[in-house]
């Protein structure tokens, strides 16, 4: 198993289940530990468990991870990662949750699909729109999934590693190639 995006570099120690992984397990949600992200526990959750896991972590009084700091998308070498940084307004808990969609399972011309948490958490709404726009992860069940930073008719997803810029509209004077 490779760690994160460091290309093919093996983990020094196999990560062990931390307190939040145990908490999720006690409530019947499976997760697998990933190497800690600069000291913060990092869990991989299956996409079908994501909504339940986030709802549980947010609403349980003992954990209270009720601050969704950011939703990020990462185009890793083998996977598309949707990364959720969870903090709390009332205690010092921190947790990183990752949903990883293997590139091999994504059909050509389709986008990787992850369930949206925007219906249960407004903070995710714009972050998921941005990740859809820039990294090209489709959030299923999002109330209004359209591009947010790029123009609505933009083609492609700029933060993909294989993205190539379209015709340079500023320097190319040919009318046929003007976007």
């Amino acid at each position: 198993m490779t760690t994160e995006t460091s290309q093919g570099k093996p983990a020094e120690n196999p990560p062990t289940t931390g307190p939040f992984g145990q908490f999720l397990k006690d409530h019947g949600i499976n997760s697998s530990p990933l190497p800690a992200s600069s000291g913060v526990e990092t869990l991989e959750v299956d996409s079908k468990d994501l909504t339940a896991a986030l709802r549980l972590l947010r609403n349980s009084a003992e954990v209270a991870l009720d601050f969704l700091v950011t939703v990020s998308g990462v185009d890793s070498p083998d996977t598309f990662d949707s990364v959720y940084h969870l903090w709390s307004y009332s205690n010092k808990n921190e947790l990183v949750i990752k949903v990883r969609i293997a590139k091999a399972t994504v059909k050509a011309d389709y986008l990787p699909e992850v369930p949206s948490v925007a219906p249960i958490w407004q903070a995710a709404n714009w972050h998921e729109r941005e990740t859809f726009d820039l990294v090209g992860i489709r959030y299923l069940g999002h109330p209004y999934l359209r591009r947010i930073l790029n123009p609505w008719d933009w083609e492609g997803h700029p933060l993909r590693r294989d993205y190539r810029q379209p015709v340079d509209a500023l320097n190319d004077k040919s009318p046929g190639s003007f976007r």
């Binding site: 994160e4 460091s6 600069s38 307004y89 903070a123 714009w126 930073l149 123009p151």
Partner: protein
């Protein structure tokens, strides 16, 4: 509030109005699609991206050293904080120890920057409220002095590029500290001047009291941070909550309010924060130790590298939690940079605040959130 017209003979349609992107009060280019029923706002859709400069994409396509210089432009009013978030996240991944003097200088420069950012907000917010007379220039008088201080240490007035991975760029001269100290002594008197004009001004009170009330639950639902969150009564300041750098050695209290904050509370929160930052600066000048300002292991040239790994770090910027998620694969360029900009999350709470308010309140509420559009669009 408008009175409701009850007549079946008077048929009114909702009107759609585009506010912006060239609206002068949007501090950049924000377009709000407003659906109006008479003067009352019924639906809001913010349209972003007019200032999108692909900062995250540039992060993947520039070397670490080049990207450091670029990132101040994200939030042009508080460039220190974006640099600091980048530096902290990269140092986390890298395991770099930052010399203590550098940490103090970071706090000093950032708190100066925080005051200058709030001063600009204060001046322009009064313009947003219609105070087009001379007041906006009072805060700019002090801001000018702060920018001169920051220019002396960094060489630039706004795009500082002062905080670097591993430390800070250069050490100020001894008399610089003396001049900053003299400034901190006169500054509270200047804040008194602003407050004398604004805080109890009847027009200001009419425009702001009870306008744009942000309940705690709504703020937490949308991930609002910064003075806007603290004005709503949540004690959440990263400098105290998760002390980073040397903030745990400095004495200050988090400024919070005991009820759901309205526009005036957010004004008061920022004004008090300016005084608080001023006190922090005084302490830092007293406490700053001698020593190195840059970690010896970090080169400041194109050879700058960060070890493979990933990390997230955040700082408390004038607008809230400014986070930076870094993924490095050990090469000359970062693998992925992801920014968590406070303005982006704070702006997302705007539609619920504007619904059922008169259109005249739109800019009063929007301005009170202190949004910087380049920070939203990156």
């Amino acid at each position: 509030m408008a009175t409701e017209i009850k007549s079946d003979r008077l048929k009114t349609d909702e009107m759609i109005i585009n506010m912006g992107p060239q609206h002068p009060a949007t501090h950049g280019v924000l377009r709000l699609i407003l659906k109006l029923d008479g003067e009352i706002v019924r639906h809001v859709e913010p349209v972003l991206g007019h200032l999108h400069r692909a900062q995250e994409w540039q992060g993947q396509n520039r070397t670490w050293f080049q990207y450091q210089a670029l990132i101040d432009r994200v939030d042009y009013l508080s460039g220190m904080f974006t640099s600091w978030a980048l530096a902290r996240a990269s140092e986390h991944v890298d395991g770099t120890e930052v010399p203590e003097r550098a940490e103090y200088l970071r706090v000093l420069a950032s708190e100066l920057n925080r005051i200058s950012s709030h001063l600009l907000w204060l001046g322009t917010y009064l313009i947003d409220l219609g105070a087009l007379y001379g007041f906006p220039f009072y805060p700019f008088r002090e801001r000018e002095k702060i920018l001169t201080f920051l220019e002396e240490i960094s060489g630039q007035r706004m795009m500082f590029n002062y905080i670097r991975i591993g430390g800070v760029q250069r050490d100020p001269k001894a008399d610089w500290f003396k001049r900053v100290e003299a400034f901190t002594k006169e500054f509270p008197e200047r804040v008194n001047e602003y407050e004398a004009i604004v805080t109890e001004n009847p027009i200001f009170l009419d425009r702001t009291t009870g306008v744009g009330v942000l309940p705690k639950s709504l703020a937490m639902e949308y991930g609002v941070t910064g003075p806007s969150l603290r004005a709503s009564g949540i004690n959440y300041d990263l400098r105290r909550f998760k002390p980073y750098s040397v903030y745990d050695k400095l004495k200050f209290d988090v400024i919070t309010f005991d009820k759901d904050g309205d526009t005036r509370d957010r004004y008061l929160a920022r004004v008090r924060e300016m005084r608080q930052s001023n006190e922090i600066i005084k302490q830092v000048i007293d406490m700053i130790p001698q020593g190195d300002i840059m970690a010896k292991t970090k080169k400041q040239n194109a050879g700058l590298r960060v070890k493979a790994g990933e990390g997230f770090a955040a700082v408390e910027s004038p607008r809230g939690v400014l986070g930076c998620y870094v993924v490095s694969n050990g090469s000359d360029k970062p693998y992925r940079f992801r920014w968590r900009n406070p303005s982006f999350s704070n702006l997302s709470v705007l539609p619920p605040l504007l619904i059922d308010r008169p259109i005249a309140d739109v800019m009063a509420i929007f301005g009170s959130l202190d949004i910087i559009l380049p920070d939203v669009d990156r």
